[in-house]
Amino acid sequence: MAFEGLTTRLQNVFGKLKGRGKVSEDDVNEAMREVRLALLEADVNFKVVKDFIAKVKEQATGIEVQKSFTPAMVIIDIVNKELTELMGGTQEKLAKANKPPTVILMAGLQGAGKTTLTGKLAKLLQSQNHKPLLVAGDIYRPAAIKQLQVLGEQIGAQVFTLGDKISPVEIAKQGVQLAKDQGNDYVLIDTAGRLQIDEELMQEIKDIHAAVKPDEVLLVVDAMTGQEAVNVAKSFHEQLALTGVVLTKLDGDTRGGAALSVKAVTGCPIKFASTGEKIDQLEPFHPDRMASRILGMGDMLSLIEKAQTNMDAEKAAEMERKMRNADFTFDDFLEQMEQVRRMGPLDQLLDMLPGMNKVKNNPNFKIDEKQIARTEAIAKSMTKAEKKKPDIINYSRRKRIAAGSGTTLADVNRLLRQFEDMKKMMKQFSGMMGPKGPKGGMKALKGMFGGKGGKNMKFPF
């Protein structure tokens, strides 16, 4: 289920044939073309893709396809397993020194998110009853020290600084000494962002490394990084002997192929995923979820989580009841739109749903945010009574609504017609929040946002 997107693409390659015996080399070659594209689109480095494809190809060629499976399923399974494994099978914990304090050094490019991560990690350690000391080692970026101080203040952690006139090597050294004297069990050293080709600054961080001998060297990588991720990771690893990687800004809509690139060239475990600007938005890294995200296969789990955090549970239950009884009004419609919108732009929501790739690629299907805004405007131009009982909306009311919402009479007519159609689909839609789970939800969403006209799905906006 989770891999339906690539499955669909591969099914186009193989046809719907089941159990064709051995998968031929030609089949595999063609399938690998699709896999390659999926990975490249996700920003996995092209050399990493090449190696990966070669490996999977070897495994897939000549493999026996069981009766009940399609070749596409078999290949997806191999790709998925291989990718998840590459991403790191089990979860890795933060290092711990035999003799405290445990020293953690942050490294990475400018703007990757090191300072924020330092704060988040400290917060996480505090919640496990540790006493971290934060060391402000970025003396270059204006107000970087201040940024760390504000974060430290927010969580009640001590920040050590010597201002921006003393060398970061000295700051790190004295910071660790202070931690020893005070009995802090963790020291987190923030550093300035630097380009991997900046010799002077790379030497500086090597000197810090030599001076404090960190137990953990974390490379902080922006999940949106493109092909360059490989050069960055390789160079930092060669010069600093990294022990772990943290991916940041994973709350964005990037497919995050950089994760695979970095993992492939450093071999270091990805230890955390940073998923927001708030100080507690730091999560353990899930290789399987990342694999499906990179493949663009739809991450049902995160969609469900998103829905849970953004939809008000009570409202959802109420809505469901209304839908089942088909006494859904334009007020409810507006409410519903608001709830769905809070989850993010619609086409991205759809991206997270398996199988939607195919729907989205249908030329008749287009999510037009402007169109949706127009729809909302029409609904908002109705009077209370009209929203409740759309039946009363006669010609003159339609004209008024069109004028009020800056749309045309035809727009209003279309919406009213579609609203009726939608009410008829309500039973289906109720499955989305009901016990039937995501399957029903998919159908419902397809119904809600589907293409227009003919035998295609109706577009209710």
């Binding site: 490019l109 990757a112 107000a143 940024q147 800004k249 709350d251 732009p345």
Partner: protein, 335 residues
């Protein structure tokens, strides 16, 4: 050794030269570009599948973006067929022409739009950590050097230390910063800043905003509001809304351009961190799909590390390090 292995090795040693070339090289003629790309094409003697594959990888490796690369390669295939081209060298000018064409756009897009009768307002937007604040510092300095009166608005009231960061830049450059407390409404800061700009009758007002990911609905709405407030106070403003993109960003930059474009009416791009080895080829895809012009590139963290964008030079830089790898491999490093 495979081509890409050699390539990888040569990249590190070449970059410095490339950067300085890009820096001073704005005067370089088009021939230099043609010559450089020519090297790449002359290495292969035949146009075959392998040739196209290698070209495809070079472009993808520069983050040009899968769709745009596929489109380009298809177009090149068609040209090869149509013109019965056999030698790679013949194809090379066609490729660079296509790339430059994609990037250049019309002449009136090159410079910054200005308000002929009053304050020019420039709004900066972008995801977290791309270099908005730094670019504002650099741009303020640039205007200052042109003898303009500049004012900055500290619209990032969210990120810890963001206001202070802009203030440091203000001091460096010698321009004032309009600010409120951390945590206050950014639209209110903008309102203040515009009033103050009017009162002082400054030439340019540059507005910083907090970094935000384009899929955060509420934060994007906030940006739309900021835009509206500025527009209400000066109807023709903001005269430019610049989306800052980090050159290390991959295909997500397209998504950034699309959604920031919708919410804040982006008029141009700034590509930062080109002093690294990242090629920022994604701006080609953005230009291709959304036709947003690139206005500036960031080439470092200092005040003067901001350059006006030059499509020829950029295409040149995109291929440098790729071209002439063979020759380069034999040369000692760091000469």
């Amino acid at each position: 050794m495979s081509f890409f292995k050699r390539l990888k090795e040569s990249i590190a040693s070449k970059t410095e030269a490339v950067t300085s070339k890009f820096r001073e090289g704005l005067t370089k003629t088009r021939d230099a570009l043609v010559g450089k790309v020519g090297e790449l094409f002359s290495r292969r003697k035949k146009i075959d599948e392998e040739f196209f594959e290698e070209l495809e990888e070079i472009l993808i490796g520069a983050d040009v973006g899968v769709n745009t690369v596929m489109e380009l390669i298809d177009e090149l295939r068609a040209e090869v067929k149509k013109r019965k081209i056999e030698e790679p060298a013949e194809l090379q000018p066609i490729l660079s022409e296509k790339l430059v064409e994609m990037l250049r756009g019309s002449d009136d897009e090159v410079g910054m739009k200005e308000n002929p009768n009053g304050i020019t307002v420039i709004l900066f937007v972008g995801v977290n950590g791309v270099g908005k604040t730094t670019t504002i510092g650099k741009l303020a300095w640039r205007y200052k050097q042109q003898g303009k009166n500049v004012l900055l608005a500290a619209g990032d009231t969210f990120r810890a230390g963001a206001i202070e960061q802009l203030e440091v830049w203000g001091q460096r450059v010698g321009v004032d910063v309009i600010k409120q407390e951390s945590g206050s409404d950014p639209a209110a800061v903008m309102f203040d800043a515009v009033q103050e700009a009017k009162r002082r009758n400054v030439d340019v007002l540059i507005c910083d905003t907090a970094g935000r990911l384009q899929n955060k609905h509420n934060l994007m709405e906030e940006l739309a509001k900021i835009h509206r407030v500025i527009q209400r106070e000066i109807p023709s403003a903001p005269h430019e809304t610049l989306l800052v993109l980090d050159a290390t960003t991959g295909q997500n930059a397209l998504q950034q351009a699309k959604l920031f474009g919708e919410k804040s009416g982006v008029t141009g791009l700034v590509l930062t961190k080109l002093d690294g080895t990242a090629k920022g080829g994604i701006v080609i895809a953005i230009r291709n799909e959304l036709s947003l012009p690139v206005k500036f590139v960031g080439l470092g963290e200092q005040m003067d590390d901001l350059q006006q964008f030059d499509a020829d030079q950029f295409v040149h830089a995109l291929f440098a390090g790729m071209a002439g790898t063979e020759e380069q491999a034999d040369e000692p490093e760091n000469t």
